[in-house]
């Protein structure tokens, strides 16, 4: 039963990854200068009394040996308890439940937008000769070289402040998400485009494509039915990478456009040494990564015209 084995190994792998991530985060944050008790007491620089500090250290078990705290944390995680955020004083699960959807929406829309942009440019340039190809290729290279925060700032000034086309900050309305999505999608589209174009050129010269054209199929017919299937493969293999890159980019984009989400939560949580929250965010993004890789793997199996991986 290869399918069962495939699923089994994925699950075991995921558990190992999650354990390692939790361990890494715990020790990394505890070894960083800064007192988690202060996060609980209203942030760094609190003028908390000794009584408050003692109380917090006792209540949160911060006065116990580090190893005991680690095992305790692991035990809680194993039973599905993410604990309570030090700084927000809310269950981490509740914080995540609120922050995951906006980031997921942003990342998913950006991934779709990136694919659309990449395929669109590939389609436009595939039949338009060398000049178009060079222009498209140039655009892709430049797109992949632009830092998110620069792109976002320029888009705000041009599209929002000067032209007044789109709201400069996320407003919760549909139009509010457009700028963040574009900002996040363009660099990724640049990468996907480069990879897709290369395989597209390979595929276009392959015998099956020539045969199809000889049979009288239209250019677009060949593009959509044959070429893209081949060309998308390396791109799909990159989806796991792309997703991770989107999550990193989300930290920047969410701060810039004042969008709620995992990225900003993470930034604040690291600054405040809020271990349960950092762990929660890291676990969620690790889980998302594992899932996306598995789905990408699955998609690759389905799209690959050879019916399976070599």
């Amino acid at each position: 039963m290869p399918a069962v084995r495939w699923v089994g190994s994925r699950v075991v792998g995921a558990v190992v990854v999650l354990w390692a991530v939790a361990t890494l985060i715990f020790f990394a944050i505890r070894l960083v200068p800064g007192d988690p008790a202060e996060a609980i007491l209203g942030g760094p620089g609190s003028q908390a009394s000794q009584a408050s500090l003692d109380l917090v250290r006792r209540e949160y078990g911060l006065d116990r040996p580090l190893l005991v705290q680690y095992l305790d944390q692991l035990g809680r995680l194993a039973t599905g308890h993410l604990g309570e955020s030090y700084s927000l004083k809310q269950p981490v699960a509740a914080v995540l439940a609120a922050q995951v959807p906006p980031t997921l929406t942003l990342a998913a829309l950006s991934l779709v937008a990136a694919w659309l942009l990449a395929i669109g440019v590939a389609w436009w340039s595939s039949g338009s000769g060398r000049v178009a190809n060079a222009v498209a290729s140039g655009l892709e290279v430049v797109a992949s070289a632009v830092p998110h925060f620069l792109l976002g700032s320029v888009l705000i000034v041009v599209l929002s402040t000067s032209l007044g086309l789109l709201p400069p900050v996320s407003t919760g309305t549909a139009s509010g998400i457009v700028l963040p999505v574009i900002t996040l999608a363009i660099p990724v589209a640049g990468f996907l485009g480069q990879v897709t174009r290369d395989s597209l050129l390979d595929a276009a010269a392959a015998p099956f494509a020539l045969t199809a054209r000889a049979r009288g199929e239209s250019r677009s017919g060949v593009f959509w039915r044959h070429l893209l299937r081949h060309a998308a493969l390396p791109g799909l293999a990159l989806s796991g990478w792309a997703f991770g890159s989107l999550l990193s980019g989300a930290i920047v984009v969410e701060s810039l456009f004042a969008r709620p989400g995992l990225g900003r939560t993470l930034l604040d949580a690291v600054t405040l040494r809020d271990i349960p929250l950092v762990t929660g965010v890291a676990l969620v993004s690790a889980l998302a990564y594992v899932l996306v890789v598995a789905l990408g793997d699955l998609a690759e199996r389905l799209v690959d015209p050879r019916g399976g991986r070599a």
Binding site: P33, G34, D35, A37, E38, I40, L41, G42, G43, P44, G45, S46, Q47, A48, S49, Q50, A51, S52, L53, L55, V56, S87, L88, K89, Q90, V95, A98, Q99, S153, I156, V157, S160, T161, G164, P167, P168, V169, T171, G172, S255, L256, F257, A258, R259, P260, G261, R264, T265, D268, T271, L272, R273
Partner: protein, 546 residues
């Protein structure tokens, strides 16, 4: 705003300040228009998102900003800086200064229906003093209060361990606002989400990292004496948004996405001044001025000559002028210009680089290394300057770079270290600094007792200490103690003058400007004002033109 100038000029300066106070109320240009009830105002804050909406817990400025809309204090201040009644209508101090009796406003209820009475005040004092509340700012402000007792339903008595002339100032701060005792009995997590007060608005919903929704309290009866109207607020709803990026925040104001922003940056202020759509309020925060403090406890700034060389050798005026586009006025005082007791002496800060170099020579920093920095016994004249990226605005960070470059001309190697807030406090606690800029907001001159009393060198259990210049002077300590016990305002004023004089003349501190606090708002917004206490915005009188 007092300077050692003839009395007449002093009065003129005070009058100018009062005028400044007037411009600090919005909507004056259309003062004749009739307020309209209803509508939703969107406020965008650049301050950090609070982790708890109850300002008793912890106690920082972001909490004060938003809680001004739904919580109220026992007393407030008017734009002249005088204490005025709010939830307390009258108060009396005993002759020994050890007990204060407050008479409370009648017929006030919290938005959960609980009556506001003496028992409620007692419950709040106990809440702040309870270690489990994890209060910092409020706890410190009540340090000298032993306990509060309900004498009758409308009378409450505070018993003090020693006289505290700053008590009223302290009680006017949002960190000691009065909350519903019924609500305080809930778990802290719940109370942090939805604190209950007597204010003109109440917290309806808090979506983390996005916004807090506040709705009008239609039964509101307790505006402070200096409010422009009585009864319920005009606005039916406030959306309080978190927009940390200053450029995005200003863009949102320009596009009409939001109606009011705080923490407006100098370049935005200049741009806004040219726009017919936008207006500004300049409301410096009270307490200390924004200043550099030189750590006098260790080399090289343990030598007064070296401190003096730095302070009189580094020109900051040109930088302040160009970086702040004229929106920030140079300060020569330890205290904010809104403080009546602020003592200012520009003559101490006249730039004289030749003399500064001579002073460094006298202090023994005569060598030069290959990079051009001064040395003494083979050791470079290095001073560490940790800067918190979370606390300093871009213009200020650029000013620090200019200071670094200017000081290089004298032979100082200023090491700017950009740190996140946790690491920054860590560096201070470990005394790994020679220069630091640590803003401190508090109502009244009592802030001097926190910042320059030698007892403030001893760190709090969390490692925090407020006396960053590490001024350790018996004379300052005894003057501060005297001021704290002094019932006469005039005599107190003299004592605080002496303290400020000693600190300024000891070259411990390089004042830069007031703690900048600028609001920008769209012209459709009327009646917006900054509270004369801690300069937080009050939306009680605000209304939106349709």
């Amino acid at each position: 705003m007092r300077t050692p100038l003839p009395a007449v000029v002093g009065t003129a300066a005070a009058a100018a300040l009062v005028l400044a106070g007037c411009t600090a109320t919005g909507g004056d240009a259309t003062g004749t228009a009739t307020p309209v009830s209803g509508g939703t105002l969107t406020y965008a804050t650049g301050d950090a998102e609070p982790t708890c909406l109850d300002p008793h817990v912890g106690g920082n400025y972001p909490q004060a900003l938003v809680s001004t809309q739904y919580l109220e204090e026992l007393v407030s201040k008017n734009s002249d800086g005088d204490v005025i009644p709010w939830l307390a209508t009258a108060w009396k101090q005993s002759d020994d200064g050890l007990s204060w009796t407050f008479t409370l406003k009648k017929g006030v209820s919290f938005t959960d229906g609980t009556a506001f009475d003496a028992a409620a005040v007692v419950a709040n004092v106990e809440h702040v003093k309870d270690p489990k509340t994890l209060s910092s700012t409020g706890y410190l402000a009540l340090a000298k209060v032993d306990k509060a007792t309900a004498v009758d339903a409308q009378t409450v008595r505070f018993d003090l361990s020693s006289p505290d002339s700053s008590l009223l100032d302290s009680l006017s701060q949002p960190w000691l606002a009065i909350e519903s005792p019924t609500a305080l009995k809930r778990s802290q997590a719940v109370n942090c989400e939805s604190p209950v007060g007597t204010g003109p608005f109440e917290v309806q919903k808090w979506v983390k990292q996005e916004s807090i929704t506040l709705v009008r309290n239609s039964d509101y009866t307790s505006p402070p004496k200096d409010a422009a109207h009585t009864g319920a607020a005009y606005l039916s709803k406030i959306v309080w948004r978190f927009l940390p990026d200053s450029a995005s925040r200003y863009a949102a104001l320009q596009s009409g996405e939001v109606d009011v922003i705080d923490n407006a940056q100098p370049d935005s202020l200049v741009a806004a001044a040219k726009s017919s759509q936008l207006r500004a309020i300049d409301a410096p925060r009270p307490g200390a001025s924004d200043r550099l403090e030189l750590n006098s406890s260790q080399a090289p700034f343990d030598d007064e000559n070296v401190r003096r060389a730095f302070i009189t050798g580094v020109a900051v005026n040109p930088g302040i002028k160009s970086l702040f586009f004229g929106t920030a006025k140079r300060s020569y005082s330890l205290l904010s210009s809104v403080e009546k007791d602020s003592y200012s002496d520009p003559s101490l800060f006249a730039i004289d680089t030749a003399n500064a170099k001579k002073l460094l020579g006298q202090a023994g920093w005569t060598g030069r290394d290959s990079d051009g920095y001064r040395t003494k016994d083979g050791k470079r004249l290095t001073v560490r300057f940790p800067v918190s990226t979370n606390q300093s605005i871009p213009a200020e960070r650029s000013l620090f770079e200019q200071i670094q470059q200017e000081a290089k001309g004298l032979g100082f190697d200023v090491e700017i270290q950009q740190l996140d807030l946790s690491s920054w406090y860590g560096a201070l606690a470990a005394h790994k600094y020679e220069i630091v800029s640590a803003p401190y907001t508090k109502v009244g001159p009592g802030v001097l007792d926190i910042l320059y009393n030698s007892s403030s060198i001893t760190p709090a259990p969390s490692g925090y200490f407020a006396n960053n210049a590490q001024v350790d002077s018996k004379q300052v300590d005894s003057l501060l103690a005297e001021a704290s016990a002094e019932p006469s305002e005039t005599k107190r004023h003299d004592l605080y003058d002496q303290v400020q004089k000693i600190v300024l003349e000891g070259y411990y501190v390089l004042p830069l400007y007031d703690q900048q606090n600028h609001y920008l708002y769209r012209t459709a917004v009327h009646g917006l004002r900054a509270m004369p206490t801690v300069s937080t915005p009050s939306l009680y009188d605000a209304w939106l033109q349709k």
